[in-house]
Symmetry: C2
Subunit: 384 residues, 2 copies
């Protein structure tokens, strides 16, 4: 395997009832801002649990953080925090609320235009501390340093990463996910699955433990994901998918191995331009990325075919084709469509996406840095 | 799965050459004590790498920490640290040096007799910070909060655990393990394997990801362990075993699942009374513990038989017997003998061990708390 550094100090409080334990994780006398999204937490009992757990503490609220959180919205929270002297944030919601809160946390002490944290990748030098109560297993944001933010004005979706925006703690209570709309449950499964694939489906570097751990998450998502859709109150299945989603992107399966992420970079553009859900973009792009890159990913595709889909007999090329087809079928089976046309998008989206990549200097993506604009065009053409 | 909390802030620096990077992980102006064992680090080049990396820093040395580190030795280091005003420790060695350093770190600010940290489990309220350069993959001590210390005067081997004794960082450079005696390499493989088994081979609680991650480590040790013995300079195999040993006991595979540890508790007594290497005691006890507890562990034994040893056909009881036999054969194949008689110990050791358990109030061990002194006697009888 390759050399690596690994560090992840996020404290995880996992299981039903754990929201009740957050007060002791927050500094005494902290002035807290609770950040949340569209208000579902006020309908499903999560908000009440959080308020009860914060009894005796001082807090304000900031709701309305949208999916693919908007810079414009987040900057209002930054203003509020500066004005009110807030010194701890509690994000209550899914990956968008957690991502948005990371940006807010870094933007508050940032000097200059906070958009440059994303657009110019200006390093974050400080951030106010925050914790999370996760209500949607998907992005892994609850246990990592990454955040993706969208500037609505220019339809740009960009990310940043900093060890200063590790959550201090994250509560993962599977019961908070019972009331999610099925579309979000489906999206979460595909998002976690693709996070694993971006770190696993590259080329072998003799890292058998990382490979097997990645396969462990894929197999568990394939096994447990459909159960969460078949019975919305299946606690154990929800718990297993929730833990899979966190483990998929907390850094551990990616240590010492090459990583891809080209599917994500293309997917972000589809979301920015057309408003397609993040996971839907991954379901569209990933199978076709694997198809176009099948020669460069050949060894890992054969391993994936065997260990994840039990495809061991017959022609190797056929096994690869079937493994890719199985991947697409799994996405469809958990309710996520896999073609651009399913979302009313035509191939005329290709030119502006490539134009955007070139303008940002993303000239070559993927684990070999060989996913050039030409390759992106080939991939997106297959997505029709 | 069961509810759990998980927190592990140890920074891992993995790979060849990483010792050169430790200076930036140690506070500037720290007065450092380097702790080490019998002096092998002065023969294999590790000491020189450490000294070079600490250029310009102030440090003292404390060598001579033995396998199963002795309270009596460690207290000398405590005295030195207090006298010299040391404020950071750098442990360079295997699990015994790291365990001993954890005890030293906690004992320095401890009020009263530090032995009570172990004997009376008095909670640790402070510890001086330390880092580790690991030279022997086995115990997992480099990424956890546990330490085992032996009081030579009374032949007592006891443990303590505290989040205050997480290493600040651990360097895992597989090249430092090339010069290990084969016996220590063998022991490390068995130790890591048994750590996984103590957390995996209990009863099912619907935690498929934890199960698969545990199986991932077992399969990788079975695959990579023998390679490290066949070719002492196989960097990749060493790297894979080293990462397996760390992952086996950094808390992750044990979240939300029952744990056993009865084999360890019995093994510690065999070490304390007879000086048998820790891993050797595990190789002696584990197969027989599985045999005696086979009814209570039946479901997981069948899963283990299928997923780790590919035993899927025939009578279920026979599969269980074969899986246990395979476990024993693996230990023997990597060079660790599995009978008490191999170490010149007879069954007359049973009475004193049970006497010690009863005196310490260890009346029932294991995941069901049903490994009574009577069961311990049954297990040890099979170890003849």
């Amino acid at each position: 395997m390759e050399n690596f550094n690994f560090y992840n100090p996020v404290k995880i409080l996992f299981g039903k009832g754990q929201i009740a334990n957050i007060a002791s994780e927050i500094p005494a006398n902290a002035k807290i801002l609770i950040t949340y999204g569209g208000g579902s937490i006020k309908k499903n009992g999560v908000y009440e649990q959080v308020i009860a757990a914060l009894a005796g503490k001082t807090f304000l609220e900031f709701g309305g953080i949208e999916a693919n959180p908007h810079l414009e919205t987040l900057l209002k929270a930054v203003e509020l925090i500066r004005k009110e002297g807030i010194d701890f944030i509690l994000a209550v919601g899914g990956g968008s609320v957690v991502d948005g809160t990371k940006f807010i946390a870094a933007a508050v002490p940032f000097e200059g235009d906070p958009w440059n944290i994303l657009a110019q990748q200006v390093p974050v030098k400080a951030a106010i501390p925050f914790g999370a109560v996760l209500t949607l297993p998907a992005t892994g944001s609850e246990m990592n340093t990454n955040a993706v933010v969208t500037k609505a004005a220019t339809q740009e979706k960009l990310y940043f990463s900093s060890p200063l925006v590790f959550p201090k703690f994250s509560v993962l209570d599977p019961e908070t996910t019972f009331s999610l709309p099925p579309r979000q449950v489906s999206n979460g499964i595909v998002d976690a699955y693709t996070h694993v694939m971006e770190q696993y489906l590259t080329y072998p570097v003799n890292a058998p433990l990382q490979d097997r751990m990645a396969e462990s998450i894929l197999l568990t998502l394939i096994e447990e994901g459909p159960k969460t859709l078949a019975n919305l109150n299946d606690y154990q299945a929800r718990a297993n998918v929730m833990w899979c989603a966190t483990m998929a992107l907390n850094g551990l399966i990616g240590v010492g191995v090459p990583q891809d992420w080209a599917t994500h970079m293309i997917g972000h553009e589809l979301t920015a331009l057309h408003g397609i859900d993040h996971a839907q973009t991954l379901a569209i792009v990933l199978p076709n990325m694997l198809t176009i890159q099948r020669d460069r990913k050949r060894e890992k595709l054969l391993q994936y075919a065997e260990r994840v889909w039990n495809l061991v007999d017959g022609d190797a090329d056929l096994r690869i084709e079937r493994a890719i087809a199985k991947t697409r079928e799994f996405f469809e089976a958990v309710g996520v469509r896999t073609k651009l046309s399913d979302y009313g998008v035509g191939l005329d989206t290709i030119a502006p996406i490539i134009d955007r990549f070139e303008k940002r200097g993303f000239t070559a993506l993927g684990e070999h840095r060989d996913v050039t604009p030409k390759v992106v065009e080939q991939v997106l053409t297959l997505c029709a």
